[in-house]
């Protein structure tokens, strides 16, 4: 069964074209699949394998290596509460308990309406702002139980600019064709790197 929408399929081909070897596009395509469906299902992996000229097993190998690729359906919003040291000392345990009772589930579960998935996570590199959590990998700092409830309400009423799970960025990256890897062999690149301005300083 085909997985990608026509639009995404076109995008997939564009992404593949950026690399000298199609296989290099595996992770970008897994992201594209996750963006489309919120998670990566078997059909997606099979189609990616076909597009890249490899086997589904190889795609599964890569996909399953990364915890952030979900191979089971998740809610529109995945909430990761940090449970590592700093956050734990600052009340992450209580926050988790509160979140579980507020959402009516256990860590790792999803709400039946398909809106929320709750997970415990390792350090999110925001230890000074403990306890913290992420919604679809967007940070929320020093979260109190009340703030958590507010957050859930906002998300449920779509009063939030956080995109659904799987969307990496609101802006789609577009790379001009002459910047595709492999289009100019490195030894032929004579111009200055693009991030240098004319006087040689940083832009």
């Amino acid at each position: 069964m085909k997985f990608f929408t026509e639009e995404n399929l076109e995008l997939a081909h564009e992404i593949i074209g950026r690399y000298p070897k199609p296989r290099s596009a595996m992770i970008p395509l897994l992201h594209l699949a996750q963006e489309q469906e919120g998670w990566v299902n078997d059909d997606a992996m099979t189609e990616i394998a076909e597009l890249l000229g490899t086997t589904s097993a190889e795609v599964l190998g890569t996909c399953s290596f990364y915890e952030m690729f979900k191979r089971k359906p998740v809610g529109k919003y995945v909430i990761n509460i940090c449970t590592t040291m700093s956050c734990a000392l600052m009340g992450a345990g209580d926050l988790m308990k509160h979140a579980e009772s507020r959402l009516g589930l256990k860590s790792g579960g999803s709400t039946p309406d398909g809106l929320f998935t709750l997970e415990g996570a390792e350090c999110q590199a925001a230890c000074t702002e403990a306890p913290c959590l992420q919604v679809n990998y967007r940070h929320q700092y020093r979260v109190t139980p009340d703030q958590f409830d507010q957050l859930v309400e906002d998300l449920a009423s779509s009063d939030s600019d956080i995109p659904k799970h799987g969307v990496l960025s609101q802006i789609r990256q577009h790379i001009p064709e002459d910047k595709f890897v492999g289009s100019t062999p490195p030894e032929d690149v004579v111009s200055a790197p693009v991030w240098l301005n004319e006087d040689g300083g940083r832009e």
Binding site: A57, L60, G61, Y66
Partner: protein, 811 residues
């Protein structure tokens, strides 16, 4: 570190100076120096990955000793290595303790127990005790990852050997590490089994009992096994194997690493078809027709069966008898039959090939290349059968050369093949027109033309399609000889010892030792009663003669023309017409079932001798078990028959036969019995001499297709209805049912949807077959595998036609 030229690299291992090659890994240098470093993931035929860390040793490059994985560290001049230091020992203990953390230690019920590197190395280098008291990880035990291989993830130590093999060597990355950290496991994609033609190799190289082979599971314990080195004769590649038996039953083959041939690998067909030798369907006693009910074959005894056979041969006389087959035999057996026919019967109507190969004169006269030369050539041109299907390990070797970038593989053919994914170029041509395609290429300014003309070139040549006569292939050979005179050849012929059979003279016009009838060696003239003076008939001609009543007796030596000859109708007519059909075989094949006298022969594993592979390499076959029932070696049967016909082959044992071959066959002179029995035969003894001059016919052109028909292409698949596959219970289900593949547009034009049954009409037959749309097939072409269960392509093929067309209709 100093700059070093090749000869200058010298490392000290445990105080002993060792010379090493630049780029060589430390572990390999140590191996050569006789110092064993324990290892799990390192395998000399695959790239190093440093997964298991078992090979840590103290390496000092001037900055003091440091633990480094010896499989990942290339030798450097002046390196000093200690594989027995305190640190090394502690590292080894630590690594083994780690590896055993999750290992179930179910050795008593594990197939690997007794020959397990984990067991052995734990005994030799392990700490003796574990500090791990927690729960080990648990998985369902074992899960089938294909029809032939089972995976026990609890036992897996994640060495990456199987997955590396699948990706790097086989090119079938259908198993892969999934998940991460403690959850890492080898898996296939759901519902996509590890159905690789080479899957059995992973079982052999798995350093633990995580991968087990269905045909061997719980069959034997390693200490019950007896082992001999032999050669696989399933196809003509000649892979070296270790044949293992337990209680006089074959239970396992292992690949043996031979540099010039198989690099230790086997295909699954060669690895697992030992089951057929053990089959209860084997012919165990001579059979003859029941006088009361001629439809029945009845058990008989050797005396009466041989007498009947001899009488029929006698009555027919030399002009009206023919012998077909012999390429499943050892060289010695082939020689005995050759001498029987040519010297005792005085007939030259003998042919080891079944109309599906190349004329013996051509095969024996083409300048031969070795497999190694092919893998080192600038270009390999494949114009023959699908190598992956018919010479599976040659496919691995060529693929290896192509992926390393040292060789460009170019193919010319009319249907997709297993080579395509790694070929530098796949040139498609209409069936029968490969010579034209090549000439066009060479006349063009395509850079490939220059590459073919200048660089070293090996041509793998054979009959790509059995729906074509030999002519197009011979035309191609002729144009290659004319336009690319520097090319050497590897003939891709069908059936195990076909090359040896031709060398032994089992072909019309040929005498043992690659000589023509009119050039017998003095030793041969002295030894043989007579030598036929006129060239006899090949298989096609014999069948034709039989069908028109010009042959009275046909002897089939391990041959099944009804299944293997391209034209079943002709074979059937011939078999029906001959007065007496004598079959010497191991199973009741379609043709054997029609025989009047059936003589049971010994099978693979039950007979010793030698065999010769496609490049002319002679290696040993070793007997491992006793013969089934009263089956006899072919040479004995030939000798007995000769005796009854008043002749004496004067052959008393395989050894004696080899001595005679060495004397009478000019090409084999010097290849003494002593050499054949020495360790030289492990690598094989290459025989490339030939006294036959190459004489190729002028090219012809195939007729133009009529526009309504589809031109038929037919090759063999690895898994088909071949006898040894059919009688191997583990392999038999792998053969797909016959299906005709046609381009979707051609099907649409006829209003046929993919997957439905169609009526296939040729000049020879009309049958119902499932048609499948396949856009990798050229328009105007139809592909039907030659011998799948449920119907072979041979029903549609007219052996007299240069190409064969079929028409399809809705049912």
């Amino acid at each position: 570190m100093s700059e070093s030229t090749p000869s200058e690299i010298s490392v000290t291992i445990n105080g002993v100076q060792v010379e090493a090659e630049p780029g060589e890994m430390l572990i390999a240098a140590a191996d050569r120096a006789g110092v064993h470093i324990p290892r799990f993931c390192y395998h000399e035929r695959m790239s190093p990955v440093g997964m298991c860390r078992m090979c840590l040793v103290d390496v000092d490059t001037g900055r003091g000793p440091m633990l480094q994985p010896s499989c990942m560290v290339p030798v450097a001049d002046g390196m000093s290595v200690n594989t027995e230091s305190e640190d090394t020992k502690r590292a080894q203990e630590g690594i083994l303790e780690f590896l055993l953390v999750n290992h179930p230690l179910d050795c008593p019920v594990c197939d690997k127990g007794g020959e397990c590197p984990l067991q052995d190395q734990t005994m030799a280098y392990g700490p003796g005790e574990s500090r791990f008291v927690e729960e080990k990880r648990h998985y369902e035990k074992p899960i089938p990852i294909s029809d032939l291989v089972h995976l026990d993830r609890e036992r897996c130590i994640l060495c990456d050997r199987c997955t590396r093999f699948a990706d790097e060597v086989a090119g079938d990355p259908l198993i892969h590490f999934t998940e991460r950290g403690n959850a890492t496991q080898v898996l296939t994609f759901p519902d996509e089994p590890f159905s690789s033609y080479f899957s059995g190799n992973t079982v052999q190289i798995c350093p633990v009992g995580a991968l087990t082979a269905a045909p061997y599971r719980f069959k034997a314990r390693p200490w019950d096994l007896e082992q001999v080195e032999s050669t696989c004769t399933t196809c003509s590649m000649g892979c070296r194997v270790a044949v293992e038996s337990s209680r006089n039953e074959l239970v396992r083959y292992l690949g043996v690493d031979v540099e010039s041939v198989n690099h230790g690998w086997l295909c699954d067909k060669g690895r697992f078809n030992f089951e057929s030798t053990n089959s209860s369907h084997r012919i165990t006693t001579p059979l003859t027709r029941d006088n009361d009910d001629p439809r029945q074959l009845l058990g008989s005894d050797w005396g009466s069966a041989l007498a009947l056979a001899a009488e029929a041969i006698q009555q027919a006389g030399p002009g009206r008898v023919g012998l077909i087959g012999g390429s499943r035999l050892t060289n010695e057996d082939a020689y005995a039959w050759s001498k029987f026919a040519k010297s005792v019967l005085g007939t030259d109507n003998v042919d080891a090939q079944l109309g599906d190969g190349l004329s013996a004169e051509v095969v024996l006269a083409l300048p031969l290349a070795t497999i190694a030369e092919a893998c080192n050539a600038d270009t390999v041109l494949v114009v023959g059968p699908d190598i992956k299907e018919e010479l599976a390990i040659l496919h691995l070797r060529l693929r290896g050369a192509a992926t390393k970038g040292q060789t460009k593989v170019v193919e010319i053919g009319s249907t997709p093949t297993g080579i395509e994914p790694y070929a530098h170029r796949s040139i498609r041509c209409a069936p029968g027109e490969s010579a034209k395609a090549l000439s066009e290429l060479l006349a063009s300014d395509d850079p490939l033309a220059a590459q073919l003309k200048q660089g070293s070139l090996v041509v793998v040549i054979g009959r790509a399609s059995l729906a074509e006569s030999e002519e197009p292939t011979l035309s191609l050979a002729a144009s290659i000889r004319a336009e690319l005179p520097h090319a050497t050849f590897l003939p891709a012929l069908r059936r195990g010892n076909v090359r040896g059979a031709l060398d032994m003279g089992l072909a019309p016009g040929i005498l043992p030792g690659r000589t023509r009838l009119d050039q017998p060696s003095p030793a041969l003239s002295a030894n043989w009663n007579t030598v036929p003076t006129t060239k006899g008939l090949n298989t096609t001609e014999m069948l034709r003669a039989a069908a028109s009543g010009d042959l009275d007796t046909l002897i089939l030596v391990g041959a099944d023309p009804l299944s293997d000859f391209p034209d079943r109708n002709l074979a059937a007519e011939a078999i029906q017409k001959v007065k007496t059909l004598i079959a010497v075989d191991t199973f009741i094949t379609d043709s054997v079932a029609q025989a009047d006298v059936v003589l049971p022969a010994t099978a693979y594993g039950e007979q010793g001798g030698t065999t010769t592979n496609i490049e002319g390499r002679i290696s040993r076959l070793t007997q491992k078990i006793t013969a089934t029932g009263s089956a006899r070696d072919d040479w004995m049967i030939a000798t007995e028959l000769a005796w009854r016909l008043g002749g004496d082959l004067r052959l008393g044992s395989k050894e004696e036969i080899w001595r005679e071959i060495e004397q009478v066959a000019p090409s084999h002179s010097g290849v003494t019995l002593e050499r054949v029995e020495s360790s030289e035969a492990h690598e094989g003894i290459l025989v490339q001499r030939s006294s036959i001059e190459l004489d190729l016919p002028a090219p012809g052109t195939p007729p133009v297709a009529d526009g309504y028909g589809l031109r038929l292409v037919s090759g063999r698949k690895l898994w088909d209805a071949a006898t040894t596959t059919t009688y191997s219970p583990s392999l038999q289900p792998l053969a797909e049912a016959a299906a005709l593949r046609v381009h979707p547009n051609d099907l649409q034009r006829l209003g046929i949807s993919s997957g439905t049954d169609v009526r296939v009409i040729s000049t020879r037959s009309t049958e119902i077959i499932t048609a499948i749309a396949d856009d990798s097939i050229e328009r105007g072409t139809a592909m039907l595998p030659f011998n799948q269960p449920g119907g072979g392509a041979n029903r549609f093929i007219d052996a007299a036609a240069m190409v064969n067309d079929i028409r399809i209709e809705t049912v």
